[in-house]
Symmetry: C2
Subunit: 336 residues, 2 copies
Amino acid sequence: MNELKRIGKQTVLFPSAPKMIATSSVVGPKEGEGPLGKFFHRVLKDDMLSKDTFEHAERAMLRYVMEDAILKQEGGFEGVDLLLGGDLLNQITSSSFVARELSLPFLGLYSACSTMSESLVVGAALIDGGFARRAVCGTVSHFASAERQYRFPLEQGTQRPPISQWTVTGAGACVLARDGVGPKIVRATVGKVVDFDVHDTNNMGAAMAPAAMDSILTHFLDTGTSAEDYDLILTGDLGILGSKLLCGLMEDRGFPIDGKHADCGAMIYEQEPEIDQGGSGAGCSASVLNSYIYGKLMRGELHRVLFVATGALLSSTSTQQGDSIPGIAHLVVIER
Amino acid sequence: MNELKRIGKQTVLFPSAPKMIATSSVVGPKEGEGPLGKFFHRVLKDDMLSKDTFEHAERAMLRYVMEDAILKQEGGFEGVDLLLGGDLLNQITSSSFVARELSLPFLGLYSACSTMSESLVVGAALIDGGFARRAVCGTVSHFASAERQYRFPLEQGTQRPPISQWTVTGAGACVLARDGVGPKIVRATVGKVVDFDVHDTNNMGAAMAPAAMDSILTHFLDTGTSAEDYDLILTGDLGILGSKLLCGLMEDRGFPIDGKHADCGAMIYEQEPEIDQGGSGAGCSASVLNSYIYGKLMRGELHRVLFVATGALLSSTSTQQGDSIPGIAHLVVIER
């Protein structure tokens, strides 16, 4: 019988510690002007990448990071057994079409803006289980394609409420490997769907914060750790308001994270009125993790990061039909 | 170092052979009147299940089969560590909301009508790798929600071309387990995205047949097997025309499957003009595999089944923007 690699209620262990051996990131011009601009591998001058539609531009960004990450590591496509990814577009077409172009076996995933961590959870498990030598994991979002799919046509010029976030135009990818050098994925907690009955589709931070709380708290209890044991607890795209809510929820439960917490959405843009609560979108945490944070891990400025990307599992149909917005947060622990 | 459980180019092995210890299926009235009607666990009299929308009815069907499969096996929810699933609705809301209601850790998947086999691939890998004791895998589709999302409002009464298929109102789920009694998942081939430049969104069979060919052929070559080694090669929802295309493609490549091949979409309905080429939809293969085929495996009428559900990875946006329809087919080998 195979050994059970589980601890506590919901946490899994990766004894062979799959390595993040190469990463890539790309962002749009607005993200490039933000405080993390110099850390991204590529900043676009034209967020259309000369394509005819927003969706085709989004696809080109995902292709770029996946190919770039694969080609950065020794062997290139040789030994890359799987492509793991998803995106926000209906039927995850960005990912499916990139998988077609790269001609790699493909497992399509969907957990909205939690897809970067979902792909790392599944990738690390498949590598630790012996089912792949290397897997490329990643996701993407594009401001313009997300706005028109989830909210309003951009041409309409709809006024944004102050609790809203700005969907990041960005993508990130990472090659996970059995062998090689890089930060290691040592544990993960697969998230549950958590719903605190938020109905406001502009308030994504409030919809996702309870899911982040649930996964972080479960991970602490399963592993007997607390915020002190990590250099950084990095959420995906709760934004400024959502981050405050998460810190409050954790405080209430006796596991404060204030000094250790940062949020990719809260850090990616300069503060300006248009941006409101910060960034969101699957590409937000994907681009920040695979550039700025990866660099800090490689240089030894961070040793142990709890990465917990957060997703809001709504669709425009579920909203129209009166459903609340469920959230999910998949969590991985990355060690230098 | 962990053992590598791969063979050939693209095939993975599950030495511990995760077992399908319990299954459930539900279908609508039309499917209940078909030749497989008496094998489904539940046939609905009302395909709305007294819900207010098609989408809420679809969700209720998925919840029913997942809960039913879980409760059929000893221990019930205890020891079920994961819910793996997806569906055709934008942002896989049927699955996400069911995961919320059942409160299980959830990995959202998307590979259109190949989701049943994708969930079995990922589930078997996670169980064989030691990351879960039991996992519930499943998917759903509903004629009315799929038609209005992918094609036209039903109220419009659009005439259907003779190459079209009828989206199955149905769901299927299965509990995979480390321990227990039931048919075993012994191998899998993760599909590549294959595109033969089909643009006709009514001709799903033609769009998906090349992907089925690619996965079956790869599996044969990776494992040194051919159609003779299986009692049944069961595709998901190619329909009658798509099945003919698949058999022709396999014949051309020197690996004929004619005598061994069956297709869930081609067998689920009585032949009548309205049905055209047969059934389609993620729920088609999910409901047939987890009822009729599962029964045959349990009774020893089948010993080794190659199950290859097929998915068309289009969205209404990709179609509107002129993209062709890529297909994917994930494959598992199930042994008694």
